[in-house]
Amino acid sequence: MSALLKRSCSHNMLAAIIMLIFICFCVHFQNTAGQFFSSGHTNNWAVLVCTSRFWFNYRHVANTLSVYRSVKRLGIPDSHIVLMLADDMACNHRNPKPATVFSHRNMELNVYGDDVEVDYRGYEVTVENFLRVLTGRLPPSTPRSKRLLSDDRSNILIYLTGHGGNGFLKFQDSEEISNVELADAFEQMWQKRRYNELLFIIDTCQGASMYERFYSPNIMALASSQVGEDSLSHQPDLAIGVHLMDRYTFYLLEFLEDIHPASKSNMNDLFKVCPKSQCVSTPGHRTDLFLRDPGSVLITDFFGSVRKVEITMEAIHLTDPILHPMSEEVQEKTYSYVDQLPVSEIIHQKPKQKDWHPPDGFILGLWTLILLVFFKTYGIKHLKHIF
């Protein structure tokens, strides 16, 4: 009896241990699964906008191109990036190194490279086009590369740079976008379920004023300077003759160069980029509309396009292929293209309609009528002379 009890006890213990291990495994799976779906997004988009033109605004183009470069390096493909550059610095007549845009002094880093794909260029960068890209209200003829085809599981990075002021951002020296318009555009995006989470970065003077009015959920915003402060440029290059980068984006680029697709840096590190000692202005951020804790948000959630990969060791059995039941009796219909031009109509044209002339006899009749009336008024005896 005691031997049986002992055996049952050990069995019980074994069962308990196995149960414990099984539960641990389940929990572990759940954690991994939880981690797998923790961020809630499945694809990444980026909208990078440079709003100023002219040669002396070289640094804004360099800013945008350096963010483009980081974003592409971390995995977002060109099809998911909408790049808007208001002027062409690489091919500007004043560029002593044509086809290059440098971000570091002494021409260390050429951010233009060989595979830059600019979607909106030159005068196409307008407030209207920017808002249409964000809200998706583009004419049907717009090509895919110019559209923001995001869905409700997209994380979007929006980067703006240029000249700005308290509550506005200047586009192309002739128009402005106000913070109210931007907030409303984001609300439209939220209501149309065009984003899952949005990271908004702006590098202009008084940039913090641009995110003051946001009211849609799931938006995190960063700016390079507070209201009343100017964002300063970093260094001039003496050979090119202009300032190459703005300070905030320069240090942002340095920070992003250390990020790789598997890095675990989170947003709190991004908030620390460019403190006042380096930037002279005070960068600001806004996280009250964001539902998750910024400490749990990875940089690559917005800057990279991280594909979640699950490795499995089991074999997967595929079912037999489904045979098409009517494969022998289906007629082979020949297909052809519809005529682009109605050639038949062109060749066998109906004759062109000439102007309508009254029939010739009508004029004769008219004159007869006139004569009759004439003779009627002046007496019928004159008519007798004719007939």
Binding site: F54, F56, N92, H93, R94, N95, P96, A239
Partner: protein, 554 residues
Amino acid sequence: MGLLSDPNRRRALISLLTRLNAPICGMPVDWLVKTMQARGLEVFTQRFSRTLPFPDENNERYIVEGTNVYGILRAPRAPRTEALVLSAPCSPGDDNNQAVGLLLGLAHYFRNQVFWAKDIIFLVNEHDLIGMQAWLEGYHHTNTTGMDWSPLQGRGGSIQAALSLELSSDVVTSLDIVLEGLNGQLPNLDLANLFYAFCQKIGVLCTIQGRIQRNDWDSVSGYSHAVQTMMLMVMKQASGRSWGDHGLFLRYHIEAATIKGINSFRQYKTDATTVGRLLEGMYRKLNNLLERLHQSYFFYLMPSLSHFVSIGYYMPAFGLLAVILLLRALDLWVQLATPPSRNEDGVADIEQSSTGVLSVLTPLVISHLTGAALYMLPVRFQEMAVEHFQVSETEAVVLTAIAVYTGGLALPHNTHRLISGEGTEQGWRVLKLVAVLYLAVLLGCTALINFSLGFILALTLVPVASFVTPHVPKLLSAVVLVILSPAFTLLFSVFIFQELQEMPVSFQDGWMLYLSVISQGILDHYLYGSLVYPLIALMVYPCWLLFWNILFWK
């Protein structure tokens, strides 16, 4: 990057300059054309000729014929819509023999750069201002001064800015910038600031009016130094002539300045390559411009290169002077409206009704006819004067002008016979009212265009205009009126100008200088369209004659 970075280019520039140390001008057109073509420029020439109304004794020329040579450096990637000009006048003798060498060296260096967004025109003009006028007229298809020139074969788009070089030695101790142009027009202040900024950056001593600026603004001597510099600028602007080849560009809304190299007895000398670097820097900055210089002031006075007095500061001073005239006019108007009771002369009451504005028409017409005579007679009748007197043509012109001027002083004694209401209290008041208002409007318009001229005329004419009446002591006020007349103002200005430039002259030399100034003024008017001589002859002098008439009313 820069002119000094490549030792080969440095050597080439130095060899070019030393080769050119011998005077080259007398305008070797073929050599210039060949050299410019070797540098890769598109070279064109322009012939011009002009017969001066009378011989110019300062520059010793009468019938002027010459050729301008210019080469265009096309921007490698830009459309040919804008251009910059670098010019060096080629005068015979040692005057400007290094500037052409520096110009060609710069052309060679600029040709190898890819960042030019505007065409650069390298111009070598002969007979300085006359050649420049011919070139500008040909470039802009205007013909305002009756010069004869061949049309330009090559063009470069609208000119955004221009610099003129005057360099007489291959080492300089300082660089001077000359801003005053024709009719007192000035380039945009940004151009002067650009020059100053580059001088600071490269470490060259730079001056304005040939005077080095001092840092002690608080002390009396420092302040007076600055005031003297500003007075020099005022006098140069008031003369209305173009003090460098750049002055003719300003009329076409092209910002231009002249840079002169001065070689004085200082120890620290800068060589031509440094001057070339400075010019290269200035041209790169001008190249990056997207629109014409217009952000800074067009009307200013400079007591030093780092300080300026803008129009907002100096116009109220002139305004206060003009207000004196207006108050005097108001006073006369009130006096005319309420005639005082006369208890001595019953005749005056009857005559008051007959005097109106028309009675002053006669003195007005006669004064203006005298002014017209002063404008036209000197040049028209110079041959007659040369026949009758043993003087050269220039002297004939000038002495005729002075003669007509002095002859006008005798007028009041003769015009009295022609006007009604002579000797009446009412008559002179009406005349003075008209004269004071006329002077106020005239000075106001002059000050708007050429502030210095308007201000100097206002300073001398406003006091006498306000106080002259037939009742003041005649001899004293006649002397004062003559001393403050435009001709004497000019004489005193000549002496003060020489004094300010620290080259005081004796009375004899001063008088000869005065005569040459008058002849230059008349020539400037005929050659380039300067307005000072017609303004003084046709407007200011008749106005002054009206006051002379008032003085001798009885």
